[in-house]
Symmetry: C2
Subunit: 108 residues, 2 copies
């Protein structure tokens, strides 16, 4: 399943980088917006600690998820498609086997 | 330095509870306000993780600080006075030796 860097053409690398950055931007913008909304509705300390727990989980998740290594990219893209931060058609231009792998992983 | 429960009169207990709750209310309100202000100014992910670090530290600090045990109260009150969440005159009615201890601890 792993795809080494040698198996990515320059065009594919450009498509991958653009898609990766786009998904990251979307997820981070949505996260900042959500935190702002939740913070503006804070009423008591329990609400604040719930927000803190949420941030702890998100930080762990995001720091682990956006791993730009070619061998990991199919898994990363599959996860991003599954979560809705990326559409499969934004990866058009990657080889058919890569797209098939990503698509199949995203459906698991 | 420790003051057991037996050394607190009922009047002192009432004064202590009121002061304790008042300081807690002030600190929590200020914290919620600060988090709302910082959240509304979030621009990038680093800002969010900085807010997360701040909340981790505050949670640890607050959970340790508001310890309502009579033996710990002089230390708790001294800390609250030092940090500005409580004024020494809000503890008026406590015995002179307790006030002197709190005052002395708050100046350390």
């Amino acid at each position: 399943m792993q795809v080494s860097e040698a198996e990515w053409t320059d065009t594919e690398k450009t498509i991958a980088r653009t898609a990766f950055d786009q998904a990251y931007k979307r997820e981070i913008e949505a996260l900042l917006k959500r935190v702002q909304d939740e913070a503006s509705a804070l009423i008591k300390l329990d609400d604040l600690w719930r927000l803190h727990d949420f941030l702890s989980a998100k930080r762990h998740q995001i720091e682990g998820k956006y791993d730009y290594q070619y061998s990991a990219l199919p898994f990363v893209f599959a996860g991003l498609v599954k979560e809705g931060w990326l559409q499969l058609n934004e990866l058009e231009g990657l080889s058919q086997d890569k797209l098939a792998k990503i698509n199949s992983l995203a459906r698991m």
